[in-house]
């Protein structure tokens, strides 16, 4: 589904590499935690997948499309197939929960009767049924992040990217949010989540790709945040 082949990224000539010769292959339907400290390259990796930035060297394939040769005009189509969720929610403050989610479909030209069907459905998926008329500032952080997830999922993309989605939330709420992502993953959506939340990673026991200074230092199925094998050895 998502393949990085010897990918290197740097933001300007002479800068250190944000990603350095990274190769990783994520299968359809997988749930992957990308972990590492701040500045380790997690966000860079996420941003490559939606072409928010281009690779300096190497190749990125998403759903069979080579992003380095993809014409600019096809980028919107790529992004329609990838839902994104961020740490800071990025909701429109003047619009209600319902309108925030419907906005995506309106922008994409979905027919009104489809919008009327899809939005409540998606709000139910994230556990926000009955809160459609609230404004973002009337919601808790966890609820706002649920709105953001609903917005990312409302047009049913096959891939969901989450860049530190629990970064602004307390531990309990974080668990709830990742549980929702887990549920979405079980229905077949590929989920890639960047995080440095150890508890989350240890609780959910998914594949872990660990980055350090732009290099993959571990890629382990059912992993924990700290690599126990490395820990035992030292």
């Amino acid at each position: 589904m998502i393949t990085l082949e010897n990918v290197s990224v740097r933001y300007a000539k002479g800068d250190p590499w944000a990603l350095d010769d990274v190769s990783v292959d994520i299968q359809r339907g997988e749930f992957v935690f990308v972990v590492g400290v701040s500045g380790s390259g997690k966000s860079s990796l996420i941003r490559l997948i939606i072409l928010e930035r281009a690779v300096t060297k190497g190749r990125v394939l998403v759903a069979g499309n080579d992003l380095s040769t993809m014409p600019r005009r096809h980028v919107p189509r790529l992004r329609r197939g990838v839902g994104t969720v961020f740490q800071d929610f990025r909701l429109l403050s003047g619009k209600t929960v319902y309108q925030n989610v419907a906005y995506v479909l309106q922008v994409l030209g979905t027919k009104p009767h489809m919008i009327k069907q899809l939005v409540p459905e998606t709000l139910e998926l994230v556990g926000l049924e009955g809160k459609g008329k609230r404004l973002p500032h009337e919601l808790s952080g966890g609820e706002q992040q649920r709105v953001a997830i609903a917005r990312a999922m409302v047009n049913k993309p096959p891939i969901l990217l989450a860049d530190e989605p629990t970064g602004n939330l307390d531990p309990e709420t974080s668990q709830e949010i990742v549980a929702i992502l887990d549920r979405i993953n079980r229905s077949g959506t590929t989920v890639v989540m960047a995080t440095h939340d150890t508890t989350i990673v240890d609780t959910f026991r998914k594949r872990v790709v660990q980055l350090s200074d732009g290099v993959i230092i571990r890629d382990q199925a059912d992993g924990q945040y700290v690599d126990t094998q490395v820990g035992e050895g030292s």
């Binding site: 600019r72 329609r80 994104t84 990025r90 995506v104 309106q106 922008v107 917005r151 047009n155």
Partner: protein
């Protein structure tokens, strides 16, 4: 993107950005007004030129009783014999002389009184000071020299005047007006384009949340740009329509209403532009303004709104 949603977004944008919208409207109005004014002045110039060129080109003024300082007029007022001689000379100059007519002293005086009916000096000018004349129309207006050579110095002829001089002076004046108006229009146009660019930049900034979300969910460049472009088109459309209304006022009340009244005495001598010229120009002015606005906003959007 559906139309209802699109216009909702545009209305939202306008509400949040009223000041910028109004400034684009006003700057467009001023630039289109000057552009239109310049083009109308140009039309007036060619209109009066064409009109005069088709009519009287050369006037042969005959001697008045008091014009004795001119050699050909030492005998005082032109005699019947001299008039007959000039007339037959004019006949012999056919086909260069296409047509001519004689204006007697009475007719000339009547026209003079009509022209200067508001002037206090009118009563101090005696009738005999107004010369009788031959008005000559040439088949080739540029061959004034031939006529001047033939009649300058002929007994009974006070002076031969090329009327095109007057026309050319009027045309030169109108050219200056045109140049000034178009230069102002160009300056204002540059202002308008820069303002549109700046407006889009500011609007893009104030709407970066929306555009970012639109980008993230895969809105095409067209979808991202369209609300901005519709807003700019609305502003320029409104501005140029206001400018047309102003120009209409100037033409209808200033030229047709006032100036032609003022020149009523010379009716038939000066022909003025009217609203029909403005109506002819209107679609070009509005279309040009809108087209330029669209092109400018497209470039600004490519620069300030990332897809």
């Amino acid at each position: 993107m559906r139309l209802g949603f699109l216009f909702g977004e545009v209305a939202n944008g306008l509400r949040r950005n009223t000041a910028m919208f109004v400034s684009v409207v006003l700057v467009t109005m001023v630039s289109v007004f000057f552009m239109g004014g310049g083009l109308l002045a140009q039309q007036q110039a060619s209109l009066s030129k064409g009109y005069w060129y088709d009519r009287v080109q050369v006037t042969i003024f005959l001697c008045t009783p008091n014009a004795t300082e001119v050699a050909a007029c030492v005998g005082g007022a032109a005699t019947q014999e001299q008039r007959d001689q000039i007339e037959s000379d004019l006949e012999s100059l056919s086909p260069l002389v296409e047509d001519y007519f004689y204006e007697s002293n009475d007719e000339a005086y009547d026209r003079f009184r009509e022209q200067f009916r508001n002037s206090p000096a009118l009563d101090t000018i005696p009738q005999e000071a107004i010369p009788e004349s031959f008005r000559v129309q040439l088949s080739d207006p540029s061959k004034y020299d031939v006529i001047a050579g033939a009649f300058q110095g002929t007994p009974g002829v006070d002076d031969v005047v090329d009327q095109r001089d007057l026309v050319q002076r009027l045309a030169a004046f109108l050219n200056v007006v045109t140049f000034g108006a178009v230069a102002l229009a160009v300056a204002m146009l540059i202002c308008a384009l820069l303002l549109i660019g700046t407006t889009i930049r500011l609007t893009a900034w104030s709407r970066r949340r929306e555009t970012n979300i639109m980008r993230m969910v895969g809105a095409s460049a067209f979808t991202l740009y369209v609300p901005f472009i519709i807003e700019t088109v609305l502003a320029t459309l409104l501005g140029s329509l206001l400018a047309l209304a102003l120009l209409y006022g100037v033409v209808e009340y200033g030229i047709t209403g006032y100036l032609s009244d003022l020149l009523a005495g010379q009716s038939g001598l000066v022909s003025l532009i009217g609203t029909s010229e403005l109506f002819f120009l209107a679609p070009f002015l509005v279309g040009g303004a809108v087209l330029l606005a669209v092109i400018t906003s497209w470039f600004a959007l490519r620069r300030y709104v990332r897809v």
